[in-house]
Each structure stands twice: as structure tokens, then as C-alpha cells.
Symmetry: C2
Subunit: 461 residues, 2 copies
């Protein structure tokens, strides 16, 4: 017997009673509706008894987790900020610590996301799982906007929920038996994800470093570019330019050296270009501007600091087809497998926003946001310059790196917080090479940046 | 000198020229605008030369990646589907393979996301980084809706971009030196993420299993609940109920056995409840309905199959404070660290959608979606029943598990695809215990499900 349309015409409400999940509809609130006796209104049925035990499983704690120091930097700063607020409940705290965007998403871009969200409620506009690697139009637009004429193609681009998440996925890709190098100071996620993956030894308190990580010191003395002649070979080299936290950007000549260094050593560079659009000087915005880089480099980037997408979550990673392991296996193939197994694609709504970012009107709007923050950066730089500090960064990045020679970063952080209610970031949180520095973020409302600078002037006048 | 408002009043356009990133604005398209000589219109400046090398780095491929078999199941099915479409370009393919939602997101929920997206373009409505663990109102609503009276609190809930992603993060949390058990058959992400983390040995082709994984056979013979008396102890037990792919749900008595088994062995259960709202029978919807489960269990779940969020990406994981490693360390503390270091929170727009899902109108709308798919499930079950097949699942899950005794799953998959243009999922893709079965997903437009069933009837009449 053929299944007729009639035989399945039972309405949703007829089948409704099949579902165990019960709720009170808005119209029946408070009324006696057909809710089974044991069911909690609005929730699951639950039959649990109170319990008080001190039970321990026999599962050992991941020893690598035990190696990590204190909290991840920014939650730690948030904790101190909250403690400060408890001490001074009326203080007007100005957050220039974590690099968190504050300006609204340009309307053109936000509207594209709203439109996509609404379309998801229509049959024509609905989409389920997208490709794990990202929607093709966005991959194409990223390749064209950021890597045009660099030999990077749409299928080299893996769209993600942010560079930070991709850094961890890359570490899972590389595996435990790899060695890494990082700029010192650098964004803490490189080191912490390496520790978690078991690539490092224990933390060495005396030198404030993890064993088995190569820390490439970047200071004013070397123009914030590491001395590669004294750098040990590692499998992976994390390199961020424009750099977080120092704000410095590597020149074409320096990056050419870096690529040569990686080639000579057979290393893979993971190049973090999350701040590339802040570049003012004539430095490369992508590692792939350097000839030969596609043989040795992966690049990760993000919409977070360009379009205010810190909460929206959208980034990308470029894994060129030319990049191979020592056995000749294509790195991109394994990364694709990681993306398919450990990730399910960035939110389609965020991807609609990303696509709008890369249209002419979106690009213009992004530049508006970036230039606003660059104005903030100038204000902060001028302030510290006028107070006689040695100030670095700022020109190519939304971070100002202020030197307090001979002082402890956390002490300076604490003093600034205590006396001005401004949250900064202690340089030593980015590695021992950051000791004696404070990172001041230019992400903030204009009046807050001005007020913070006024307070800095009062403190250091 | 105090920094005056005037001294920073330079406009965005004045600073504009600082940025290296150039583009043609929509109004100036085709005109000669101030673009430096070497700049590519609309993109970065790029100075790369063509290159052709066969360079290999000296980085060894992660040996664990090499253990993985073929592609991840669903991309592999997509590949075969595409090959079929090339062979039959005019075929009307009906996808009942991957469990991908097809019905629009209820308007109430989509509107909440659109509203949040638009609010992000206003100063009042903008938010940057959210808490890595999720926004508090959503965590509270999840705890109240799904775990009311079960002793699960808001801070036990970690909001994520989906259960699949959390499974990988949990594996990173547990680390390489752990052993796992899985239902056989089961969702492939458990096994594959375990392989990637290095918890397993090589794939044993003769038995179609990875060495060092405990496969808990679930067949019609044991009512799809494993024989725990013959199950070896592992650190972690992945357990999905209602199960994907078999559609079976464990009873309260069975889950009580499972919790006792975990307690006796000091194991941690990772309970996947992504289909719990499909439960019709009187089985627990959460492992935490079982007394003592908070000592031994983590639960992961998702909005994907409830509200059509497969592309939106939103899920959650519950790590109770009562769960401890053998050394007494709280598991939740380490998971929090993973979430803060390897993840940056789910998209705020998706979270707005999740919050709307859990409001009375949203819950009602979600039930509408779920009941629609349950109607589909009934149609598919009735079809295969009428054709004389042994049919399992369906009652408590949107999956129908059809037995083809003595046949190869991939052969049945291929025959169905070849003769009906319907994509199903071969049971053996979920583990050797799935051999001889086909999973038919109930996610599909009604007319497609009806048409597929008509074709099944023609094929098997």
C-alpha cells in the first residue's frame, strides 16, 4: 500500500503528547494544563535525590593542565578588576586592558547579519550545516581581499570562529611531540595551548619560562625582532605581526629573514596577522607577501579587531597547499580533517557579517572603525610621550607598549589601577620579555580614552 | 599640559591615509583615487613572485592523524553524493543521510537573533568579548529549563558552539593518557577525537576497531544497551541517549546501572543528550536524573536538533562541581581553563537565539519543530515496517535504524542511492556494530520524506 498523504496528516498537536518535554504555554500559564504529575513546569521531569559525597573518580588529572600557571592572563585581570570594584564600588573603572572592542559594528555589516538571521526563518533562506571550512563566497572574498595576487586560493582558506580557537586547533593538528618558538613577549594563547598539548616541560619559576619552549626575546634593543642567529630550531614558530602586545611590526627584510630561517630549519611558521589592517608603515600585511612563504607558513587572522567581531566570533586560517610535512604529506589535508572532526564551521550568521565586511561598503565601514581606534592610539601615545616615557608600538597596532624600566609590570598595573581606576595589562603577562612594560589598549570609547589619559597625566605629572 | 578635546579632533578621514589597507569606495569605483602605485585595488598590496617548489618541511606529521581511517563519515557521504550527482545530473537527490535540519528556525527565535545583531550596531546594544563560559542569562535559562531540581547550577553550564566542538575540547581536557569506551555503533566524533588525541592504538582492519578503545556492542539482542558485566574499565565512557545512530534510549534502570558501573570503576561518563527533547517514552532526559551521577558524569547537548541551529552553532556542556579527578582536583576548574584558553565563547548572536529558545514562546516553537520531525520519523518507520523490515529507533529520536541482516551497510547505502537517489547513512560508518544497518534521518522537508518513502516502497516492494 502506498503511503498516502492522508495517512500522515496528523497535526503537530496530535503528536505533541509523544514528547516527554512539557511546558506551560504563555496562554495557559497558571492554568491546569495536561502536565503529568511528576513534571516540573517549564523543565524536564526530574527524579533525583539530594546527595552529599566526596567522591573522587579514578581518572588522573591531565598532567599538562597542572603545568599551567595561575589563570589565563585576561580572566586573571578581570578577577583583579572585580576585586578593585569591590574595594571602590563607586570608582569609574576604565578598561584599557584586554583588547576588547567597544565601538558598534557598522550598520551595514550588522544589517547583513540581521538579514541572514531573519532569512533563517524562511524556507528559502534557511540553511543547516554549512561546509566546515566556511561558505564558499566568504572564502573567496577573503582570498581576494587579503591575498590577491599572492597565490592563495579560496580552498586554502579555512573560516573559523576566531584566531584564538584556530591556534588551539593547530596545536591539536601538530600534536604532542612538537617544539615551538614564540616571540617574547607574545599573546599567551600560543604558550598555553602548547602546554596543554604536552609539548613543553614544567614551568621554570626562576626564569619564568616553560621548559622546551624557545622564547625569542623582542625588546627595544633589537627593534622587537628576534636575533635569529641565536634562536634554536623548533618545529613550529609562532610569529605575530603587528605584534600583540608590543605593537611592533616586522619589516619586509625581517620577514624575509624569518622565512629563510624557517626554510633552513624546515620549520613551520604560524603567522598571526590579526592586526594587519592597523598597519600604517610599509610592512607586509601577510607573510605570503614574502616569496617562498607558502612552503613554510600558515597564517591566522580574525575579523575581531577590524569590525568589532570579538563577540560575533569570526576568523580564518590559511593553510597553503604547498605546505608539507617531512614525509611529503600535505598539511592542509590533516587540518581539513581537524576542522571536520573537531569543529563544525563558524556560525552562518557571523559568516554573513564577514561577507558584508568585504564588500566595498563594508570595507569602508571597517576602515572607519580601525581609524577611530588608531586615533585613540595616537592620543595614548602622545600622552605617554608627553610624560617622558619611552613608548613603543601604536603606529601599526592598537596597542601602546610603555616602558617602566626596573619596575615590575604587575606593580605598575596595580598602581595604575589603584590610583587611576584604569585597567591596563602587565607586560610580564605576555612572557618574561614583557617585564617592565605595560600594554595600554586603544580599544575604548573616546571619552574614556581621554579620561584615562587625563588620569595618567595626573598620576605621572 | 592637559590633553584637550581639540587636540584629538582630527577626523577619521584625516587619519585615513595612515592605513596601509586600500580600497575603492563604491562612489569612486573606476576613478583615479589616491591609491599608491603598488596597491591592488580592493586588496592588500602584494609583492610576491611566482614560485614552484617541492619543498618539504622537517616537521613530522602527527602520527595520530595518520591512524584515522578514510574521511570523517559525513564528508565521505557528501563526496559519494556529489559523485552520484555527476553520474545522474538530473536526479532529484533526497538527503536523509547526515542529520541536518531542514525546517526554518521559528520566527520568534530568528527575530531575537536579528534583533541582537542590529543592536550590535548601536552603542547601547554593542558587546565585545562575552564570558568564555557563556552569557549568564543563557546559562541560567539552560540550568532552569533542562536541569531544574537536579542540583545543576548556572555555573555548572558551559555554553559552546556545539556538542561536537565540546567533545573535542573534552578530549583535550582529558589528555593523551586516557582510555575511552564508546557504544558500538556511535557518533564517529567520539572515536575520531580520541584517535587524534593519541588515546588509541592503530586501526585493526580485521575487527574494524581501533586498538585501546572499548567498544560496547549495542544490538537488537541486548536492547541496544551494552553488557556492562563484560565491559572493561576505561577512564572515559562516551554514552549517547537517545542514541545516534540507533535511535534507542536507555531506561532509568539502565542508566542507574551505568552510573553504578562508572562509580565502581572510577570512570567519567560523557553523556551526550543532544536528542533528549525527542524522547517520547518515560526515560531520563538527562544523566543527572540518576542519583549520584554528578559524581561521575559530564553532559553535553545542543540546540542544533531542537531549533534548527545546525548552522547557527550553539550547545552546552554541564560539568558538575562534584566531579573530581583521582587527586581530588575539580574537573570543572580545568575545563574552565580549556574554555578560556582554546575557545572564546559562542557567538553572542547565537546566544541571543538560545535565550529566545528557552522563553515560553520559544519552547513552544521548538516543540513545533521537534514534533514535525517526529511526524517524519513516524512516516519512515511505518514505511519500513510495512515493507517487513526490522526497524529500530524512531520513537525517542529522529533516526530510524533499519536492519538488513547479512548485507554490507555500504552496499545497501550504494544500492539505495543508485536506485532511489536517496542518501542514507551506512550503519558501519558508526562502528562495526552498525554493520548490516542503515540509518535513515527524519530531518527533511515533508514532501521529500514522502517521496523517499515512495521510492523505498518501489525498491523493496
Amino acid at each position: 500500500m502506498a503511503l498516502s498523504q492522508a495517512s500522515i496528516s496528523s497535526s503537530s498537536s496530535a503528536l505533541f503528547s509523544q514528547s516527554r518535554f512539557n511546558f506551560k504555554s504563555p496562554t495557559s500559564r497558571g492554568q491546569s494544563v495536561a502536565v503529568p504529575a511528576k513534571t516540573i513546569g517549564g523543565g524536564w521531569k526530574c527524579v533525583a535525590t539530594p546527595e552529599k559525597t566526596e567522591f573522587k573518580t579514578q581518572v588522573s588529572r591531565n598532567a599538562n593542565m597542572g603545568k599551567l600557571q595561575a589563570g589565563y592572563l585576561f580572566p586573571e585581570i578581570a578577577r583583579r578588576r572585580n576585586a578593585h570594584l569591590e574595594k571602590y564600588p563607586d570608582a569609574k573603572i576604565i578598561p584599557l586592558g584586554i583588547g576588547d572592542t567597544t565601538e558598534p559594528i557598522p550598520e551595514y555589516i550588522a544589517s547583513a547579519m540581521a538579514k541572514r538571521a531573519l532569512a533563517m526563518s524562511t524556507r528559502e533562506g534557511y540553511s543547516g550545516y554549512g561546509p566546515e571550512q566556511g561558505e564558499k563566497p566568504l572564502r573567496t572574498a577573503i582570498a581576494k581581499t587579503f591575498y590577491d595576487n599572492l597565490g592563495i586560493e579560496e580552498d586554502d582558506i579555512f573560516v573559523s570562529d576566531g584566531a584564538k580557537c584556530d591556534i588551539s586547533r593547530l596545536q591539536v593538528l601538530f600534536g604532542e611531540d612538537k617544539t615551538i618558538a614564540v616571540q617574547d613577549p607574545s599573546y599567551p594563547a600560543y604558550v598555553d595551548s602548547s602546554v596543554i598539548m604536552g609539548q613543553t616541560g614544567q614551568y621554570q619559576k626562576s626564569v619564568e619560562k616553560f621548559a622546551n619552549i624557545e622564547y625569542m626575546r623582542c625588546t627595544p634593543d633589537n627593534g622587537f625582532f628576534p636575533d635569529l642567529s641565536s634562536t634554536n630550531r623548533t618545529d613550529i614558530i609562532f610569529f605575530c605581526s603587528p605584534n600583540n602586545p608590543t605593537g611592533s611590526a616586522a619589516t619586509r627584510e625581517q620577514l624575509t629573514q624569518l622565512v629563510k630561517f624557517a626554510k633552513d630549519n624546515g620549520s613551520i611558521i604560524v603567522y598571526d596577522s590579526a592586526y594587519a589592517m592597523y598597519m600604517s608603515d610599509d610592512n607586509p600585511c601577510s607573510i605570503f607577501e614574502i616569496p617562498g612563504a607558502k612552503d613554510v607558513a600558515i597564517e591566522t587572522s580574525s575579523f575581531s579587531k577590524y569590525a568589532g567581531f570579538t563577540g560575533v566570533r569570526l576568523g580564518w586560517t590559511v593553510v597553503p597547499k604547498q605546505l608539507h610535512y617531512s614525509d611529503g604529506f600535505q598539511v592542509a589535508k590533516d587540518f581539513n580533517r581537524i576542522v571536520c572532526t573537531c569543529f563544525n564551521g563558524a556560525s552562518t550568521i557571523a559568516q554573513a557579517g564577514g561577507l558584508a565586511c568585504l564588500e566595498p561598503e563594508g570595507l569602508k565601514a571597517m576602515h572607519g572603525v580601525i581609524n577611530f581606534y588608531k586615533e585613540n592610539t595616537n592620543i595614548i601615545m602622545e600622552t605617554f610621550n608627553s610624560l617622558g616615557f619611552n613608548v613603543y608600538g601604536g603606529t601599526n597596532a592598537p596597542y601602546v607598549w610603555v616602558h617602566f624600566p626596573g619596575q615590575s609590570s604587575w606593580d605598575v598595573f596595580a598602581e595604575i589601577l589603584e590610583k587611576t581606576h584604569v585597567v591596563t595589562t602587565p607586560g610580564s603577562g605576555f612572557g618574561p620579555g614583557g617585564e617592565g612594560f605595560i600594554r595600554v589598549s586603544a580599544f575604548g570609547h573616546r571619552e574614556n580614552v581621554l579620561e584615562a589619559c587625563k588620569r595618567f597625566k595626573q598620576l605621572y605629572k
